[in-house]
Amino acid sequence: MALEALLLNPKDNVATAVRQLESGQGVIIKNGQSNIDIVLLEIIPSGHKFALRDIEQGEKIIKYGEVIGQATTRINEGEHVHVHNVEGLRGRGDRQ
């Protein structure tokens, strides 16, 4: 069966859409033997990420079970997670 979205590690708080997903759409993401049900609040373009739960401002974003950055604002479950609400923590010459 073709997939809609992928969770890479049980620790992750984001999943990746493998096709464009629509606002209001319910998505089922496999997490080992169980499933996570998410209702999307926005269009998620193919290859982009969405939140699997509410994420507070300053909280770390986890993918591959590792830190990929931190939230610059509160992100609600089902919202698009990308450069508009996440910053990287490495290579920040602008912060030196």
């Binding site: 073709a2 290859g47 910053e87 490495r90 290579g91 912060r95």
Partner: protein
């Protein structure tokens, strides 16, 4: 397990049998190009280097040029120089003699201009072609194969499909005694901990942190957020949000085995198995460095699509998603996107890539070769005057 390769006099084995025309300085680039165009069956590269370098940059350029010319896929090389430059053909020739590589030399100032150099160079390169034509493929153990890995034009699928599948192929190669090169140091920033856990020794672990820190320091020196350069605008459009995310997906292409060694850009590994080559993520620079480090085949994953090839080494292109595979079909060799379509797995595509490596090493042409791609680049270290 064997591939069919060309045994060289110095004991190494090539997957191709090229005769290369190589200018050691920009001033000889056009002349080298003229020689190659006059003699069918030769390959040529051009570049802006060879003069004005200082200190470690001189060492870096000499190592890159000589390693590239000594790659086992090159049967012989004609070095073309001007005469008054810093890196003369004689400088590179000395290194090639140590490698046991066959070479000839021609200098423009000595010959008396372009026309005379093209004539003399043509004669010398024909001699090299005649020698090269005697080589025949024979069975070579796969433990003598070094495969370079590269990812360019990445999207978020790179880390989900093509990179882990290439990693699976690297694991298979390493299990057979071969060597895989993981490079692109900027794309290790944020994933050092994953690599460090697999370091063969404390010194390898230390080197992994040293090379990523040195690369991250470049962003500090520039005073900018690395995002926009890494990940690039196209990467971001493809769904990659931060460098850390890109790195965690990028390092998957090296596989899961122990990291045996960390070498400098264009340096030959002394260990077999998975090794890291320090160097930029620039696609053509990375390929050139791995070729200089001895890679006889390169596997390149791409999500946004790139036509990148190399002058002397076959580059196998793996698409991360089915859309780009079909959209840029003339550039793509393998579709890892079927992992998302549900008709393939990381293991099945890993096996497919591994088989393709052996077939290509034995003579099968890649799409980049058929199209005539021959991109070549060496980076400057910023120490030129």
């Amino acid at each position: 397990m064997n591939f069919m390769g060309y045994r060289r006099a110095n004991g190494t084995a090539g997957t191709r049998n090229h005769v290369l025309v190589f200018p050691t300085v920009i001033c000889a680039s056009a002349t080298a190009d003229m020689i190659s165009r006059a003699v069918p069956g030769t390959v040529v590269v051009t570049h802006p280097h060879g003069c004005g370098h200082m200190g470690i940059e001189t060492e870096h350029i000499v190592r890159s040029m000589s390693g590239f010319c000594a790659n086992p896929n090159v049967a012989g090389v004609l070095l073309v120089g001007l005469g008054c430059e810093l890196i003369t053909p004689q400088v590179i020739a000395e290194k090639l003699a140590a490698y046991g590589q066959r070479y000839e030399v021609v200098n423009i100032q000595e010959e008396g201009g372009t026309t005379a150099t093209v004539e003399k160079g043509g004669l010398l390169v024909k001699k090299l072609l005649k020698e090269a034509s005697k080589a025949v493929r024979e069975p070579v153990d796969i433990s003598e194969l070094t495969v370079g890995t590269n990812c360019g034009g990445s999207d978020t699928f790179s880390g989900l499909t093509a990179n882990p599948a290439l990693g699976n192929a690297c694991d298979r190669l390493v299990a057979e005694g071969g060597t895989a090169i993981l490079s692109e140091t900027p794309e290790m920033i944020g994933a050092e901990q994953v690599l460090a856990r697999r370091a063969a020794s404390e010194s390898v672990k230390k080197r992994i942190y040293e090379i990523t820190s040195a690369t991250e320091a470049l962003a500090f020196k520039a005073g900018v957020d690395i995002r926009g350069s890494e990940p690039s605008p196209g990467n971001i459009e493809g769904g990659l949000t931060t460098l850390e995310e890109k790195s965690l997906g990028a390092v998957l292409k090296g596989g899961t085995t122990e990291i045996r060694e960390v070498v400098d850009f264009a340096e030959r590994p002394s260990e077999k198995g998975l090794v890291i080559m320090d160097g930029p993520a620039h696609d053509a620079v990375c390929n050139t460095g791995m070729i200089a480090s001895g890679a006889q085949v390169i596997v390149f994953t791409t999500g946004r699509g790139t036509p990148m090839g190399a002058p002397t080494v076959p580059v196998i292109k793996v698409a991360t998603n089915s859309r780009i595979y079909h959209h840029m079909k003339d550039n793509m060799d393998i579709n890892a996107g079927i992992i998302l379509d549900g008709t393939g797995t990381i293991e099945s595509i890993g096996e497919r890539i591994f088989q393709e490596i052996i077939e290509v090493a034995s003579g099968k042409s890649t799409r980049a070769e058929i199209l005539g791609h021959h991109e070549f680049a060496i980076h400057s270290l910023g120490l030129s005057v």
